[in-house]
Symmetry: C2
């Protein structure tokens, strides 16, 4: 499909793209670039690509598709570095979890003859690094593209086909709406998970070892999300601040009501909410976004 | 080990006790009681016990161990009903997630010659009903007993051995401390999960179908907990109010700080928290309370 793709960054997402693109025959040549020699060696030993570079601008030479797979905070310097080396007509994309900020920061840096199409595959695990990737990561998961309105339709189609080839359900939306959708389906859930794990690990009345010992009561579920890559998530919250704070306000408003229902012992209000939320999980399972096994299938 | 045990209520926990006790040879005879004919028929068809009753007081006759496996709100009436039929020297226990309230409400109702030893196995899934049980549910999980200080030591030892026989790690603690431990490891996590699933399902800017479609970004994890049995959880929040509100205040205090770190773009504070929380999950895995696979093992 592409003669050459360049992956800048080879963590969980980059390595999963490499493995899936190879497996599905979507790229003849895969160039990989990462700043650290150790990570590059790891990628090599895992045979993730065909060419390996410490300098991103060497990796992008002659590439038809370049995907930034590093934390969002690194994008600006990377694009400044690679811009002069990009092939005319190439597609430049990324996998960052925030799109408005990325578009705003990068658009002025990108040469006119390059098709800039930001993307966000909604997939991942709590593990990071080149060895964490696997080829089925994107299967059945959403991938949102947020090109500007004047972007070339055939380039959009090409990138869309690529992500569909990796197994994703592709949808095109505007960056602002994207940022709101992920604030509630991903960013605020992460913020809350990080927060409660922080709270539980630093209490006066309950020891950390008790928290660990009795974590199967629900707490341990939150620790999975709160074990996600710290740098990647720091950058998410630094760059999607407004949407995150907007959704967090809604969460806090609802929590205030729920707290008051607990306080006044309003069993009907509690039961009504708990019944409604049970139905949401059923819908997610029916939509193929969750497995239909008790406890994520982890227990039995 | 016991000649006869009686399980009052045969949902996820009751049926798991029945299956495990049978498998480990901990009871010669298992009597099951549940209010609804349909549930009783289901328990029969699953061959969970030896005797089946719609009236709990018939099930407890001659039983050496009686375990209440119904939502906490039903305990008072059940104990009033069965108290006159309990065998002298029998152990009466339960599996409720709150212990202070249970002890306060039930203690005055229980005849002196009965050994009342409240218990709480810290295990479960988001599914309920007799068909949801499985014999390995308690393996490696904590089970807290909260007997009063004057309770007979040999009776405590007997119940402790029973739960160890089911695979649990048994610990004896006072009811008040128990309620604080579970408030942070189980009850507040559930409250938060219920709350965010409620928030996400009723937004103006983002549709419910978008929330479902993009739930793999983290949100779907919360829906598992928020799919837990509504009646059971209603009763938990009605009966552990003080400890839940105390822990919720700590969570909210921390969240306020975290929100302010996001608001002022304090990357260092975010990274510090996100690094600290990642280590907690590692400790939980090392303590054998979580599996060491990406994404609970559900993805690949």
């Amino acid at each position: 499909m592409f003669n050459k793709i360049a992956l800048i960054g080879i963590g969980l997402i980059g390595s999963s793209i490499a493995l899936a693109a190879r497996q599905k025959g979507l790229a003849k040549n895969i160039a990989i670039s990462t700043r650290k020699q150790q990570t590059l060696d790891k990628a090599k030993s895992l045979n993730l690509g065909d060419e390996y570079f410490l300098d991103a601008k060497e990796a992008v030479k002659d590439a038809d598709l370049i995907i930034l797979c590093t934390p969002i905070g690194t994008f600006e310097n990377i694009v400044k570095n690679i811009a002069p080396s990009l092939k005319q007509g190439a597609i430049l994309s990324d996998v960052g979890s925030v799109k408005g900020h990325v578009q705003k920061i990068l658009s002025p840096l990108i040469p006119k003859e390059i098709h800039f199409i930001p993307a966000h595959p909604m997939a991942g695990t709590e593990y990071s690094g080149p060895e964490a990737g696997f080829s089925s990561l994107f299967e059945g998961r959403g991938c949102m593209l947020t090109p500007s309105e004047k972007q070339d339709k055939s380039a959009i189609k090409l990138l869309s086909d690529f992500w569909q080839g990796l197994g994703s359900n592709v949808e095109i939306m505007d960056a602002e709406h994207h940022d709101l959708v992920v604030a509630i389906t991903s960013h605020v859930p992460h913020l809350i998970a990080y927060n409660i794990v922080g709270t539980a690990s630093d209490l006066e009345g309950v020891s950390k070892s008790e928290v660990i010992k009795y974590s199967a009561g629900g707490f341990r579920d939150f620790t999975r999300i709160a074990a996600s890559d710290p740098i990647m998530w720091r950058d998410v919250f630094l760059t999607n601040r407004n949407a995150v704070l907007e959704m967090l306000e809604k969460f806090l408003g609802d929590l205030d009501e729920l707290k008051s229902a607990v306080d006044r012992g309003d069993g009907d209000a509690l039961e009504e909410l708990f019944t409604r939320t049970r139905a949401i999980r059923r819908s997610i399972i029916e939509a193929g976004q969750e497995i239909d096994m008790a406890d994520f299938g982890r227990e039995k």
